[in-house]
Amino acid sequence: MTTTALEKLKHIEKNTLGMALFLINEAVFFALLIIAFVNFRNSVKSGPNAAAALEPLTTALFTVALLSSSFTIRQADKNLERKNHARMLAWLVATIALGGIFLVGQGMEYRRLLTNDVTISRNIFGSTFFTLTGFHGLHVLVGLIMLATLAAFAFSGGLKGPKSSGMAAISLYWHFVDVVWVVIFGIIYVWTAGLIKF
């Protein structure tokens, strides 16, 4: 670690540090769910597996929405620093919209799977798939609630900038949820369901 990075860590804001530590905890939590999925990747004896049940291209579309939301919240962050209140609020709303689109996409995918009798109890694929993606979806939902709170706060005149520990902590959380999805998408859709053939 360079001295500046160490210096930065020394002066890290209290709420950001708390959130960062919480995210270490969440990373381990997801790691175990991911390990379970990978461990049982080829264990399906009967019933649907990832390749048969999933539509990776459709999910890829909604993935783009979630990934773009990392960019939009970064813009909101920047505009907070510049004390550009209206733009900051606009980027924040855009982030919420993109996160919402992702959740709607996940909801549609779940509906299609469930109507095709792919459930958490159908077989080991269902168990691992729904538990892992379900908990990720829950994290997106919690993120949206936090972002909405932040937006409401900004709307009623708060969040003047140039700094906000709430914004810093929540955007850190949001980036984390994004990164976890990149890993999940890579493992479930690209690798296991065969979006790209290796």
Binding site: N25, L33, I120, I124, T131
Partner: protein, 560 residues
């Protein structure tokens, strides 16, 4: 610092309530001292419950072929005993000390997140109540504290006991994680000027490392519990081998949490010992950097030894060798500390207060537990004694002879700070003697029972030569421990009301918590004394020979 209030002033979180509202000032408190004390009291109450369960088991085992408890009841009671002692006693008791002491030791006013602190505590209480609700909710959990699959799956455990177990532990676990986050942030952000990382009291060091272990290990438990609950409630198949799931995966996941957990249950105890021994030996700790550094070593290694709980599963020779070696390795940093503490006592002017007696016997009993622990790293030995009373003896030497002895040492040491009154030394010596004799009587003979092949977790045993006698000895010791706990309880309640006034610094200790009044005011310090070394109060009392100045002639630092 003359006007000593008898109980800590309250935070008055609700402005409409006067100071006469005693109970609400505790229930609604976000003050780290009140929350710390509530942590200690609740975990002591759970200790009484868990101890009562232990006595039920020992009564059943006093004689061969006994029928005092049915096998079904016995299964529930040993599961609840283990779960209670680990999750509701040992871990929260140490967190209680951490919550109370860390802000004082670093010269802070409170924890970094006071409301989160209250949430942690209440999560413990309600998680514990949820676990115990199982007794009236259809039967307590009965698959042991590590709830191996597939025994813990719905077809084999059809009552709701294991659901309450998993849900209760999830709630407790969330609180524990929050406490870990809170502790790290507090230590990182709220140190008073001069309290550098290299000058932190060792208890704070241990709490810091411990909190990292918590946020690294507890989520593994939480994830495992979530998967178990999915299996049980939603008919998923994670740990059901018949449906392509894997029972061994549960073991890997659980012990990935479970072994770091072992150190979560002992690191703050090391911290307590590292505070108590120097003060009562009138010498600074020997090899501060080694005590702190070896703890970091333990923390890393603790994530690489989990499979030594699983040698009997048949992981294959390479894995057995790797985990055997790493398990032997982790004994080294622990051994380093034992030598540090002995060297601290060496040549010191030792005062054998009750606190010091517990700390000194910790060195003996914990070392016995450590040595029997290393024997498990030898895989064939593990195969021979696994799931026998040898394991029971080992872990109680570590957890009772280790952690609980340290907790008692800490209780006698810091009780004066928390209440302004000293615990009775006379009752304390009775408490210590009964505990020491009772403990060794209970658990030492269990080594032999284990080596003779007596399996753990079985409700009764046949009348084999000496088994009855050894078990009766163990039971007698257990009841002696019960009496010892009553003495301690009596000591605490009586001394809290009528104990001798302690004053600010009854032990002539050197760390910051002794610089304020006993009990400390709500804001902790009128003024944090200047901190220029690891022993700020020594510097204050000995301006002619402070730690903070490099000495020209090496002066012996013992008090006269």
């Amino acid at each position: 610092m003359t006007d000593i209030p008898l109980v800590p002033e309250t935070t008055r979180p609700l402005p409409t309530l006067g100071s006469s509202e005693g109970l609400i000032s505790w229930v609604a408190s976000v003050d780290h001292k009140q929350i710390g004390i509530m942590y200690l009291i609740s975990s002591f109450l759970f200790f009484v419950v868990g101890g009562f369960e232990a006595l039920l088991m020992r009564t059943q085992l006093a004689q061969p072929n006994a029928t005092f408890l049915s096998p079904e009841a016995y299964n529930q009671i040993f599961t609840m005993h283990g779960t209670t002692m680990i999750f509701l006693v040992v871990v929260p008791m140490l967190i209680g000390f951490t919550t109370y002491l860390v802000p004082l030791m670093i010269g802070a006013r409170d924890m970094a997140f006071p409301r989160l602190n209250a949430l942690s505590f209440w999560a413990l209480v309600f998680g514990g109540l949820m676990l115990y609700y199982s007794f009236i909710g259809g039967g307590a959990p009965n698959a042991g504290w590590f709830s191996y699959a597939p025994l813990s799956e719905r077809p084999y455990a059809s009552t709701n006991g294991l659901d309450y177990w998993a849900l209760g532990l999830l709630v407790v676990g969330v609180g524990t994680v929050a406490a870990g986050i809170n502790t790290i942030t507090t230590i990182w952000k709220l140190r008073a000027p001069g309290v550098t990382i290299r000058r932190l009291p060792l208890f704070v060091w241990m709490s810091l490392v411990n909190s990292f272990l918590i946020i690294g290990a507890l989520p593994a438990l939480n994830a495992s519990l979530v998967m178990l609950l999915a299996d049980r409630m939603l008919n998923a198949h994670f740990f059901a081998p018949a449906e392509s799931g894997s029972a061994v995966l549960w073991q890997h996941f659980f012990w990935a949490f479970g072994h770091p957990e072992v150190y979560i249950m002992v690191l703050p105890a090391f911290g307590i010992i590292s505070e108590v021994i120097p003060v009562f030996s009138r010498k600074p700790i020997f090899g501060y950097a080694f005590v702190a550094g070896s703890t970091v070593g333990i923390a890393f290694l603790s994530f690489a030894v989990w499979a030594h709980h699983m040698f009997a599963v048949g992981l294959g020779r390479p894995w057995d060798l790797i985990f055997g070696a790493s398990s032997m390795l982790i004994a080294v940093p622990t051994g380093v500390k034992i030598f540090n503490w002995i060297a601290t006592m060496w040549g010191g002017a030792i005062r054998f207060t009750t606190s010091m007696l517990f700390a000194a016997s910790f060195l003996i009993t914990f070392t016995i537990g450590g040595i029997s622990g290393v024997t498990f790293a030898v895989v064939p030995v593990d195969w021979q004694v696994t799931d026998s009373y040898y394991v029971v003896a080992h872990m109680h030497y570590v957890l009772f002879g280790g952690t609980m002895f340290a907790v008692f040492a800490g209780a006698y040491y810091w009780f004066p700070k928390m209440t302004g009154r000293l615990l009775s030394e006379t009752l304390g010596k009775w408490h210590f003697s009964l505990t020491f004799i009772g403990f060794n009587l209970t658990f030492f003979v269990q080594h032999f029972l284990g080596l003779m092949g007596m399996p753990r977790r079985v409700a009764t045993y046949p009348d084999l030569p000496n088994w009855g006698l050894l078990n009766l000895t163990s039971t007698a010791g257990a009841f002696m421990l019960g009496v010892a706990s009553l003495v301690f309880f009596w000591n605490v309640t009586a001394s809290w009301r009528n104990g001798k006034e302690a004053g600010d610094n009854p032990w002539q200790a050197w760390t910051l918590e002794w610089a304020t009044t006993s009990p400390p005011p709500i804001y902790n310090f009128d003024q944090v004394p200047p901190v220029k070394s690891r022993r700020p109060l020594w510097d204050l009392a000995h301006p002619e020979n402070p730690d903070s100045r490099p000495r020209k002639p090496k002066v012996e630092q013992t008090d006269q």
